[in-house]
């Protein structure tokens, strides 16, 4: 937990948009973008602190889960 708090994650904000396709979701917050996946217990964040890199390149995320 401390390790997560040590990461330079943006402060949480309000939800701007959500996109859900199959097993995956993208939630845009005012100051952050997070990606979620479906697991047996429900939705879990699999990537947080994500910023777009432009074009077709994937987001650059501070935290990536597996």
């Amino acid at each position: 937990m401390t390790a997560i708090l040590d990461e330079d994650l943006p402060s949480p904000g309000t939800v701007v948009t959500t996109e859900v396709y199959g097993q995956w979701a993208q939630v845009r917050l005012t100051a952050d973008t997070v990606f979620l996946g479906v697991f047996p217990g429900g939705w879990r964040v699999v990537a947080a602190g994500c910023t777009p890199r432009g074009g077709d390149r994937p987001y650059d995320c501070v935290l990536q889960g597996g």
Binding site: E19, Y21, G22, Q23, W24, A25, Q26, F35, G37, V38, F39, P40, A47, C50, P52, D56, R57, P58, Y59, C61, G66
Partner: protein, 224 residues
Amino acid sequence: MRRFLRDNSLGLVFGVLFLIVLTGQAFAGHAQFDQQQLVEVLPPVSLGRYVTSASFGTDVAENWQSEYLQFFLYIFLTVWLLQKGSPESKSLDDVGLESDREQEVGPHATPDSPKWAAAGGWRTALFSNSLGLVMGLLFLGSWLAQSIAGVAAFNEEQLSDRQDPVTWGQYLMEPDFWNRTLQNWQSELLAVASMAVLAIFLRQRGSPQSKPVGAAHTATGVEG
């Protein structure tokens, strides 16, 4: 019952084979989908969840649309295009829509003709093109289904790769949509061209798709 099965065996056998193969595709696709889930460290999904997924939907629809496009083109283009020596072509003298007498429409309809063949006006015009039109509509419908299921499946991959999803309009410009579409179209066109030309020189005894075994290679529009 035996008589019914015999008299309808072509449609029945192909219908049953279709269901068997579609079921096989569902199982194979489900296994592949779960392999990908493992790679992405996600739990496997049920077969029911898979067959209602966008991934399965687009895989099915992309093949359907190309088959219906093939029949649509074949039905309409063989009105005007010929292939000398091929049983797939009409006689070289019959290019075009042919006369009402030959087509048994309007006053030339027989007592056994369908009602709309005899009716005249828009009903005969519509019925005269109903086979091609329905194939064309089935093509457009399944191509639309491919694009709708395709954008959802594409966006699932986009999100798994931490990329932005695209709209339906943007998806129509994506290489994924056109690669899926064109790889099916090219195979259908090759199959039609092969059949039209090979049937000039090769025979299959008893098949209406072939000329009679002893028919001349130059005989056109003859079915055995």
